[in-house]
């Protein structure tokens, strides 16, 4: 046994040597100066210039070949070749933005892990890996075509049944004809960017229900949320459903303060209400005992990564590389986040006498959620204002929910739910042509629907299989009880 690898070694070596001999490379018919110029792809002058640079005829032929290849590629876009380069840049931005939104899931994973206790860290991480994975797969299977029914409604403007995605590059899917200036990407670009969005809503819930939810129930809860509820609600607005056609004027939510964050925050609220607070948080006699997160550097990593990813979340929602919007959206996003942080720092410092890092982090996120609805619709001063208020709101909101015994370990309800409402509704007051009434209707539709769906699924799961772990499992920690694993088996340990 011990020496079996020697045999493999010798055999592989022999094989590699056997395979090595060079195979004769076939030569193409030799090109000439005339044949090249005859193609019309190179002028006499250009040819001469190449010769001056010392290129041989073969090498010049290669260069002409490149031009032919390029022409073919552009012509492949047919009627749409007029916008070829703009389309290429925009598509590049779309997939980069998709990658950035993907990275937000690292942000959520580390933020949530850092803000909860050590004994539940593996559980939080596992849920986050699951969410992004199931999100992408179900979005391909049904979500995408449910989110964007393209007129294919079951209940008109409210619900379209999704089918698996087909070859999205087929037909116009790979050209500028797919969506033009307003959606300058290929079909796959559209899919992947939206797929990364889809899982976000579920991730938001994950933090709020952490440290006590039963893993299997959570997985099913997530599945329903991400595969059905999110695309259905999304179709009302981005899928050109009823919110895009309100008589009071179309609902406006640029990148999803309500459609994504409000949705996630209120789904979290619904789940938390059914779940109840963590054991040990509320003591007898109405006293409350905070349960500090176990790793604040990890939580801070999470917030920086989320901020970074948000440039893709908001910036990518321009849906092309249109430079004026891109610059504005990056600027408003950064300013609102920064101002949210400063406002939350100052508010918590004045209110609580100590500068609280967790409030600063939530201030960043509040500012980001707040600006998401109007990142392209307000200027830097609007962003400053939205961030400022969001940073103040988030502090009071977190304290409020703690008071009324709605236990949310990471502050997701306040950050995503409350600041999501703020950012959406305020646009009715700040931006001309955006109707306050439409904003309120849209916000209520998203938040209300998410809340109802969450409560209903949670109640069903509770009845069928239990929604919460047993007190013993909660005491022991979900890492050991659900996973039989520890997050840091080495730290301060005598023995495994």
């Amino acid at each position: 046994m011990k020496y079996w690898y020697k045999i493999v070694l010798i055999m592989s070596g022999a094989l590699a040597l056997t395979l090595a001999p060079a195979f004769a490379q076939e030569e193409d018919e030799a090109p000439t100066r005339e044949s090249l110029i005859g193609t019309g792809l190179i002028t006499e002058d250009e040819f001469a210039a190449f010769e001056d640079d010392g290129l041989s005829v073969e090498e010049i032929a290669d260069q002409v070949g490149l031009k032919a290849e390029y022409m073919e590629m552009v012509e492949g876009h047919g009627f749409h070749s007029y916008a070829f380069d703009f389309f290429v840049v925009s598509m590049l931005w779309t997939v980069m933005a998709a990658a950035l939104v993907f990275l937000m899931h690292l942000g959520f994973a580390t933020l949530e892990t850092g803000m909860t206790r050590q004994k539940n860290a593996v559980n939080v991480l596992f849920k986050n890996v699951f969410i992004i994975s199931i999100g992408i797969v179900t979005y391909a299977l049904i979500g995408f075509n449910m989110h964007y029914p393209e007129g294919d409604w079951i209940i008109s403007n409210v619900f379209g049944l999704g089918s698996p995605i087909a070859d999205l590059n087929a037909g116009l899917g790979g050209t500028f004809g797919y969506g033009g200036v307003g959606l300058a990407m290929t079909g796959y670009g559209d899919f992947i960017f939206q797929a990364m969005f889809a899982a976000t809503a579920a991730t938001i819930v994950s933090g709020a229900v952490a440290e006590r939810i039963k893993l299997s129930s959570f997985l099913i809860f997530t599945l329903v949320l991400v595969a059905l509820a999110y695309p259905i609600a999304g179709s009302w607005h981005w899928g050109e459903g009823f919110l895009a056609q309100l008589p009071t004027g179309a609902f406006y939510d640029f990148a999803g303060s309500s459609a994504v964050h409000g949705f996630g925050g209120f789904a979290a609220l619904g789940a938390v209400l059914i779940l109840g607070p963590r054991a040990g948080k509320y003591l007898s006699g109405g006293r409350m005992r905070p349960i500090p997160g176990h790793n604040l550097p990890l939580a801070t990593i999470g917030v920086f990564v989320l901020w970074f990813g948000w440039f893709g979340f908001n910036g990518g929602s321009v849906l092309s590389a249109e430079p004026q919007d891109l610059g504005l959206v990056f600027t408003t996003t950064a300013i609102s986040a920064a101002m949210g942080a400063l406002a939350a720092m100052m508010t918590s410092w004045m209110l609580l006498k100590k500068p609280d890092i967790t409030m600063a982090l939530n201030g960043v996120l509040g500012g980001l959620v707040g600006i998401t609805a109007g990142a392209d619709a307000v200027g830097p001063w609007g962003a400053l204002f939205i961030g400022l208020v969001a940073g103040v709101i988030v502090v009071f909101s977190i304290i409020f929910f703690d008071k009324v015994k709605i236990d949310d370990p990471v502050g997701a309800i306040s950050v995503h739910g409350i600041c999501g409402i703020w950012g959406t509704v305020v646009l009715g007051f700040m931006v001309e042509d955006i109707s306050i009434v439409s904003q309120v209707i849209g916000t209520v539709a998203f938040c209300g629907f998410a809340f109802v769906v969450a409560v209903v699924i949670a109640l069903i799961l509770k009845a069928l299989m239990g929604f919460r772990v047993s007190p013993e499992e909660e005491e022991e920690g979900l890492d050991l009880s659900e996973h039989g694993e520890e997050a840091y088996p080495d730290f301060g340990k005598v023995t495994g």
């Binding site: 050991l480 039989g484 694993e485 520890e486 088996p489 005598v494 023995t495 495994g496």
Partner: protein, 112 residues
Amino acid sequence: MKLIKSIIKPFKLEEVKEALSEIGIEGMTVTEVKGFGRQKGHTEIYRGSEYTVDFLPKVMVEIVVPDDIVSKTVEAVVKAAKTGKIGDGKIFVIPIEEAIRIRTDERGDGAV
């Protein structure tokens, strides 16, 4: 004076502390320990292989008290720490010869 060395379940610490406060005990020293006993360890899994963790997290509470309140103290700990399930722990009573308060150099019962 006696040193009362109790090994208890970690989540009972708060209750034990309160029980001791109630009978007027103002000082104690707590150590995180691992216990091995009748209570079996648990099984963990890592990359497909199971293994047993024999040592369970426990908390050791050390309290020095004058001789006359030893039994009251022991009773308080027993009452607060008991769950009735295996692994509740032990109390050991150890004689001590002298106690000194570093701050004041006080000795004897007054030092604790």
